[in-house]
Amino acid sequence: MIKQNKFDKTSVRERIAKRAEQEIVSGSYVNLGIGMPTMVANYIQTGKEVVLQSENGLLGIGRFPYEEEVDPDLINAGKETVTAITGASYFSSAESFAMIRGGHIDLAILGGMEVSEKGDLANWMIPGKMIKGMGGAMDLVHGAKKIVVIMDHVNKNGDAKILKSCTLPLTGKNVVNRIITDRAVIDVEDKGLVLIEVAKGFSIEEIIESTDAALHVSESLRMGTY
């Protein structure tokens, strides 16, 4: 029996987003996926120089516009109105995915439905439900230098989302480098999954119990880091 989340949904998302922000190195180019990953931008520490890429053709996403600044020709990949930072550039979708595929993006933070112990990611389709399309996710997982998946550790039914192998159709095979959930930070390594951090309020045993895949516990495991 797996425990339900100990925190309300908003604070859980905030905790994950804040922890994910620590993955962003100053001076890097970053693509944030649609949904919870977009929230990470709200927590970027002052002093960090980060250029956010939007796959619809913008390098240098700024904050959401004030009402009088809204420009219908300027959106992010989630189709939300945004602004552009000083020094931003616009380009075509082909150029955008050339810079993604070409390995020029340092980090992509994406949402996930399931991740396997080999780093397979499923996040675009649930068979039997209407398929909406993969958008840019299948390109991003092969292009960015580092892929971090952020998601709840278990689904609404309390079932594990970190599995021996994914049950849902894949977005990419062997592509994930790090998983950040409301409960733990787990790295995907050649030997399998390595537990490197446990969130406040959880024990190592609770993480192992709520993870379907086998976990190696890192020798430098840190407890209660976020």
Partner: protein
């Protein structure tokens, strides 16, 4: 040299039943609104439409769906549209989902005379079924073929009468590749100017790719208005 139209209906009147058309835009940004409205009014049927998205229920390409003018849609994300879902589930509409970067590159290849290329996107996923896989430097890639269209419909901020186009901000998106991949490319421009007005070094789409131009006023509907409140 170029056909300059004043009627959107005239501009699209030779698009016939069964045509393959490409339409620029990402979401509702950068779509050729008036050309789509004219196509809706033309009642042309059995279209194959290549576009990143398929509009929303009551705007953009969603209008052609509502009117049951599309037989097949090739795109990367179609989740904003309930009528789309209904038609797919009922078998009225065929859909081919393509990773967004692959879609952009297939269209680019179509306009650039490259029949196919390899990309890592989609390896090991459902879209790889039946597609040639080849390994380069120990990494697997999928063979993807170029896309072309009978007619390409694009929108630019400004165009000159030589067909040169400049796009505005993120309204560029798929428009430049789509302009090059159509047998006949029709450009809806917010402003049509005389040759020599645009700085040659700033042209996004050189005029060679454009056959027809027409000036029009767009609504520019906003799909998701997100704002920062003043403190």
């Amino acid at each position: 040299m170029k056909q300059i139209h004043t009627s959107f209906h005239e501009a699209v009147k030779d698009i016939t039943d069964g045509s393959t058309i490409m339409v620029g835009g990402f979401g509702l940004v950068g779509i050729p609104e008036n050309l789509i409205l004219a196509l809706r009014d033309s009642e042309v049927k059995h279209l194959t439409v290549i576009s990143n998205n398929c509009g929303v229920d009551d705007w953009g390409l969603g209008l052609l769906l509502q009117n049951k003018q599309i037989d097949k849609m090739i795109g990367s994300y179609v989740g904003e549209n309930k009528e789309f879902e209904r038609q797919v589930l009922s078998g009225e509409l065929e859909v081919e989902l393509v990773p967004q970067g692959t879609l952009a590159e297939r269209i680019r290849a179509g306009g650039a005379g490259i029949p196919a290329f390899y990309t890592p996107a989609g390896v090991g996923t459902p879209i790889a079924e039946g597609i040639e896989v080849r390994t380069f430097d120990n990494k697997e890639y999928l063979l993807q073929t170029a896309l072309k269209a009978d007619f390409s419909l694009v929108r630019a901020a400004v165009g000159d009468k030589m067909g040169n186009l400049i796009y505005r901000k993120t309204a560029q998106n798929f428009n430049p590749m789509i302009a090059a991949a159509g047998n006949v490319t029709i450009a809806e421009v917010e402003e049509l100017v005389e040759p020599g007005t645009l700085p040659p070094a700033q042209i996004h789409t050189p005029g060679i790719y454009v056959q027809r131009l027409i000036e029009g006023k767009q609504e520019k509907r906003i799909e998701k208005l997100t704002i920062t409140q003043h403190a």
